[in-house]
Subunit: 345 residues, 2 copies
Amino acid sequence: MSFTPRPSLVQIAEQVGVSPATVSRAFNRPELLNDATRERILATAKRLGFRPNKVGSSLRSGSTKTLGLLLPTLANPVFAACFEGAEARALEAGYSVMLATTGYDSQRERTAARSLLDHRVEGLILTVSDPSTSATLDELTASDVPFVLAYNESDSHPFVSVDNHAAAGDMVEYLMACGHRRLAMISGPLDASDRALRRLEGVRDRATRLDLPAPIHVSMPQHTAADRGRLKSLMASPKPPTALFCSNDLLATAVIAELSSLGLRVPRDLSVCGFDGMAFGALMVPSLASVHQPSFEIGSQACQELLSALGGEGSRSMRLPHRLFGGDTVASLSHQAVQPSHCHS
Amino acid sequence: MSFTPRPSLVQIAEQVGVSPATVSRAFNRPELLNDATRERILATAKRLGFRPNKVGSSLRSGSTKTLGLLLPTLANPVFAACFEGAEARALEAGYSVMLATTGYDSQRERTAARSLLDHRVEGLILTVSDPSTSATLDELTASDVPFVLAYNESDSHPFVSVDNHAAAGDMVEYLMACGHRRLAMISGPLDASDRALRRLEGVRDRATRLDLPAPIHVSMPQHTAADRGRLKSLMASPKPPTALFCSNDLLATAVIAELSSLGLRVPRDLSVCGFDGMAFGALMVPSLASVHQPSFEIGSQACQELLSALGGEGSRSMRLPHRLFGGDTVASLSHQAVQPSHCHS
DNA sequence: TGCATGAATGAAAACGTTTGCAGTTTGAGT
DNA sequence: ACTCAAACTGCAAACGTTTTCATTCATGCA
């Protein structure tokens, strides 16, 4: 039982009695070879379990066939879907993908980006907190590695996202169509997400345009968890909002759960909606009203743009269409209790 | 505006006036160098934006510092959490991770595994459909790349999982404690998930032990979606089950949604529970009863075992503790309508 | 003075590929 | 028989590191 390290090109070459170059061609430019030679090579390669070593190949050819993906967290199914979109497109193009998560932490963001660059990924898809202040992005620009932002919007860098401003506005319009006028926007920390900020502005602008009272904004300490106290005091105000617009679906879900523990039912006592359109929301009972962004496509398009940048064509920014999902967590105001019944003081 | 390709070791060496070897040591064995030399090297390296090329380094040293992760889908938050656990542990050890998803497709599984091997990942963490019949696993065994299964249980390969059989049994016991006796197990296609099979067996065995009537088993065409027809006919049987045990949380959620569209409320009309304990379930209203498996830890432990295998210590299989989460989708039978009211024919 | 010692560096050979160039063979056309 | 192209294959030099083995030089010590 001898230990055999994985064979290399030259071992195969020796076995078959040809030069390493020929073995290489058997895999990369098979059409150049004599049929018989090619078969002989492929046969012994298979027999010895040989597969060309990409490390060697990358070094020589200068191409690793690897893309980097840098996302805040996979706990949010939105990013998970984005990954799958990017992976699918990458796969088609013969690329592998190296994934790293940042946990919304700009320090980890930097080091992870560096690590990916060290591995010589040929391009990067990433979501940052705020593209206009991101040190990571500066570093990336300095290196000559092409990258495409996903979800972020930016004037100075290529990105793929939805039109957050307009999308949030559309949700406001929908809420108004349902009879709601007193709105609140609930978000995580704004400095950690330019998306949340744009959505908030979208909400405010549209409310103004529609002559709605200025929406209240409540900021939660975390992106994805609802703070009981802030929620309680929001609902305890003299004229509480009749609809809560949460800046993402995970937050919306947490808010609904927290409200429920406060004795407030959705949508009976008030309406709640989110942003993201995660697949999951449609399965909730009641189903979660949300602004759907095509995450899989955001991933695959970002990858597409990256690939064309690699092809030397330069990549264009694009806003993919969003879609309003009018789930059951938003009800017509006429069906809601005018004043939540359970929430005192 | 001149185009400068990223500099290499030797460019730095020339700049500084030392040999490439010395530059290399400045990064890997700094203590060997004269302080002045080291500083000089590091300074110009920083000035020129040099970072050691891992491709070259991997080739020479034979170590890519990269691990492979092969999972069915990230759409299931369980696997996403597993990834994050593995990534965290890998990061600590200075490894990067290359992720690929298989979509539960054994063909993609094979090609993805091969691709990872071609990239010379040093080890693999993966979840397969059925470890006892997996061709991918055979290939992996043939190559001398260490791997650890996640979620799968196996006699012949190292794995990290929960004790699916016992865990499912515990849920049965809990359901019985709530007064349920007529149970149904709902799963996806069994041949695509050994976990589902083990859970089913766990359910049956425990039911037998507890003198419950044999649970009905209904298999859905997909892992994650509920087939309306099968659900309807299940509930239309003369003595329908009072509790449905779904083989995963995503499926449970889909089932609840489908039941709702059939006019059946959970838990008022019947109880439903899942398996996985995804974070999300606890936020649902009503919260999803489930068997919680520590996915993050499964990932990180699998990675830990892999690392120790790489360290030559050989890796041990382990079953991590599960935890019963008695969510609100399971109610005491006494609180349920004995016969679902809305389901005729 | 001579010599061992240790510290700091360099020379050069790998690692596994790819690829431009050149060489050989073959067969066809004249 | 001679030329020429086409088809096939080989040579050898890269790619960017790491690492073994020497080499140099200063230092301490007898």
